[in-house]
Symmetry: C2
Subunit: 258 residues, 2 copies
């Protein structure tokens, strides 16, 4: 047991001995990801306000729809993205604080997603002269799967990594075995959220611009740019939370900090 | 050095001591992923042949376009997906054989992607009465990024993990440090390929069906089902190649088999 502790201690120390290149890469990834996470929300707001006249609730169903892309990007991309990145950003904090912040950021995403979902349902059901049907498109199907996975991840994560800490010793092995699954599904949910956004953007821009999409209109370029920011985020966040690079020879210690 | 060898040997043995649950999960993931990888190609063929009258080359640009979705799904999804899964399927083969098969499957994807790309370019450039512009849509931008990442991954992977084996000892540390980056970017490329397919399907179905998309027409349902197969593949492949679950307590040995 004493030997284990020594190993763990040594691992932490080794982990903190970063070279100049590692710090540069860390700063670059964190700064660029933060810019892109906030930029995606900013660009969505810019698109909606400039090309679709802003927001409303049931008094104007067209403007009510506009809440959908903004709130979904805020919840599924900006908040969820920062929540995932926290594990990369907070290098020196205690694990429990990172976990709590991870939960808080995901919890902040919930009202965004819920109101964003309600906005699109309402804008279709209360459309006049007649209601528009729901859940017929590939975008809506992907969105439903993403919301389902998000909900499962939140409940399982909250239960397993926070509530089960009440009996820390007895649940250590179970929690350890769940970490890679939670991490893998978490990244997959983020990628699915990006796919949902990309199909939503494609459907909206093709429906809005029709044949003029290929005339390089301003709205088309803004939507494409927003899509590329989301693609860049998918690449960057996957890279940021990749498995750790083994040090030294081909054999390596990995200490899972739960 | 002798001690290292002993550790490595022990790791292999421990890795092969699988319980009934692990074998069941392995079989389930591999069989389901194989069905979905072949199913996605089958469903694309079914969609194109049943709803878009099959294939042609320059004598009929509309039918020439039909080669694009089929060849892109074959290259980016079916061949690339099997290539990634090989690392999960081949548990007992020698590492070098898995690597060679991984390269062969990716190499098979190249002509599919190249001809699929040429098919869509030709079908637009030779369209009559007038050519259709290229690269204006979000789908085409995502497709270009995916092809770029695929090409970089192929060249870097071929150079680093096959050619550099000529001086195996001297390059071990470099190759070890590249493994998680190559694996992360590989999975990201696969997810981007799925996103490219999903945006392509959305654009095509919205353009083809227009307002009748929400009438639950057969083509809409087939395209949505194909999209969901791709989503299921994204979830399953990410899960299959996740980081290994740590065994025992919170401390774990990981031997990277390069």
């Amino acid at each position: 047991m004493g030997k284990n502790k020594m190993h763990t201690h040594r691992h932490y120390e080794e982990g903190n001995e970063w070279g100049c290149g590692s710090w540069l890469e860390y700063t670059l990834v964190v700064v660029l990801a933060s810019i892109l996470l906030l930029g995606s929300l900013g660009l969505t707001l810019f698109w909606i306000i400039n090309f679709h006249d802003g927001f409303a609730w049931r008094e104007n169903t067209k403007k009510q729809f506009n809440l959908h892309p903004v709130l979904m990007v805020a919840g599924f991309i900006t908040f969820s993205g920062f929540s995932i990145l926290l594990y990369r950003i907070c290098r020196c904090c205690r694990r429990i604080y990172v976990k709590l912040l991870h939960t808080v950021f995901h919890a902040l995403a919930i009202p965004c997603v819920a109101i964003g979902f309600l906005a699109v349902l309402d804008s279709r059901n209360f459309n006049r002269p007649e209601a528009i049907p729901n859940f017929y498109s590939l975008h809506s199907w992907i969105g439903l799967v993403t919301m389902g996975l998000f909900a499962i991840q939140f409940v399982v994560g909250f239960f397993s990594f926070l509530l089960l800490l009440c009996c820390e010793g007895a649940t250590a092995q179970f929690r350890a075995s769940l970490v890679p699954i939670h991490a893998s599904f978490g990244l997959t949910t983020f990628m699915l959220a990006i796919a949902a956004c990309l199909t939503g953007l494609t459907q909206k821009v093709v429906e809005s611009l029709g044949d003029t999409y290929h005339q390089w209109k301003d709205e088309g370029i803004v939507v494409n740019a927003l899509g590329m920011v989301l693609v860049a985020l998918g690449i960057l966040v996957s890279y940021a939370v990749r498995s750790p690079t083994p040090k030294g020879d081909t054999k390596v210690y990995v200490t899972e900090r739960l």
